[in-house]
Symmetry: C2
Subunit: 202 residues, 2 copies
């Protein structure tokens, strides 16, 4: 019986410990969630290496919002850090904002179909992108970024204007503009949208 | 005399060679000038390490416009790469745009006087900035970036909205807002302004 009591006491201790662990985990999770979604909870100077990474359901993508409309109250610009594993690519898409890429590492291809009076994007031009390269996507030009390498990640800083992004997505380059699927507003930090109190400075 | 003719011929050859060198230099210079100031002359994907560096009369500063309103036709965002030698600092200033910093290397201090109803900025708050850190300057908050290190350069990517920047500069933190000196438009690539044909897409 001693062993039984002992066993019970041990089990009880384990249960209490489990309870404490779960409680601490819940508190930590809720705090972490709040700190990811709260403007006021964040320090002014932030360490990018401590930022959360998400793939948003896209295999091979890692996205970090460095300065965002929902997370940080930005109204005119957003800055993202995006990493594409080999083979990973963006959808074929366009948006009504300016966009600047700064490639930090890796290689890949930019596919770009400049605006035209055609009913669909048509065959895109191809541009090699490489470490320390930069390019900007003209407003509403249909484009796609593709890590065409086999081994190395492609990592880039991305700057956009007019957040949140209004995106039109295409299945392929011959899809009519009128059939492109609209996603708006396109918040990377969408899960925070309902929990954040926005301060209007105007 | 032979030596004289020979000497003359030699001098003549030297003069012609000098002339060719000067002509080539002029052509190169005018081409380089054009490529720095022409939207059409630049490739879409550019190598940042080939971009010109300028200090704009500020000792210890090295500025590169990665995506600029005059050079690249940007209308809503600009991206700069700035390097501050030890001791180098920005003026105390404010501007009516959003601004995001991403520190690539080095250490320094951000001095920031949040907007208030006071007639002058007042004592600023101090924030340590470090590699891989990011921060944004709220619209119209008076601020200054200072490489307070002794040995290492401070290098940052800077993103701003609403180019060209409208800057108000302060001699010190107790200077009245009404006395701050306005510089507008503040084009880093000002020398290109008169030579560039701007295309209005609207």
């Amino acid at each position: 019986m001693k062993s039984g009591v002992s066993s019970f006491q041990t089990d009880g201790t384990i249960m209490i410990r489990h309870g404490v662990v779960i409680l601490v985990a819940l508190l930590w999770f809720s705090t972490a969630e709040a700190s990811q979604c709260s403007i006021n909870g964040l320090p002014l100077v932030k360490n990018i290496s401590e930022f959360p990474l998400h793939n948003y359901g896209r295999s091979g993508l890692s996205h970090t919002t460095i300065a965002g409309s929902v997370l940080h109250g930005m109204k005119e610009i957003e800055v993202w850090l995006q990493t594409f594993a080999p083979g990973c690519r963006t959808p074929i898409h366009r948006h009504s904002c300016e966009e600047v890429f700064i490639v930090l590492k890796g290689q890949g291809t930019l596919y770009l179909a400049p605006s035209s009076h055609s009913k669909y994007p048509g065959n895109p031009q191809e541009f090699h992108i490489f470490p320390n390269s930069t390019f900007h996507i003209p407003v509403n030009d249909v484009h796609q970024i593709w890590n065409t390498g086999e081994h190395e990640d492609l990592q880039a800083l991305v700057v956009i204007s007019r957040p949140p992004v209004k995106v039109f997505m295409y299945d392929d380059w011959s899809m009519p503009h009128t059939a492109a699927k609209l996603k708006f507003p396109y918040y990377w930090d969408e899960k925070c949208y309902q929990t954040t109190t926005r301060k209007d400075e105007l």
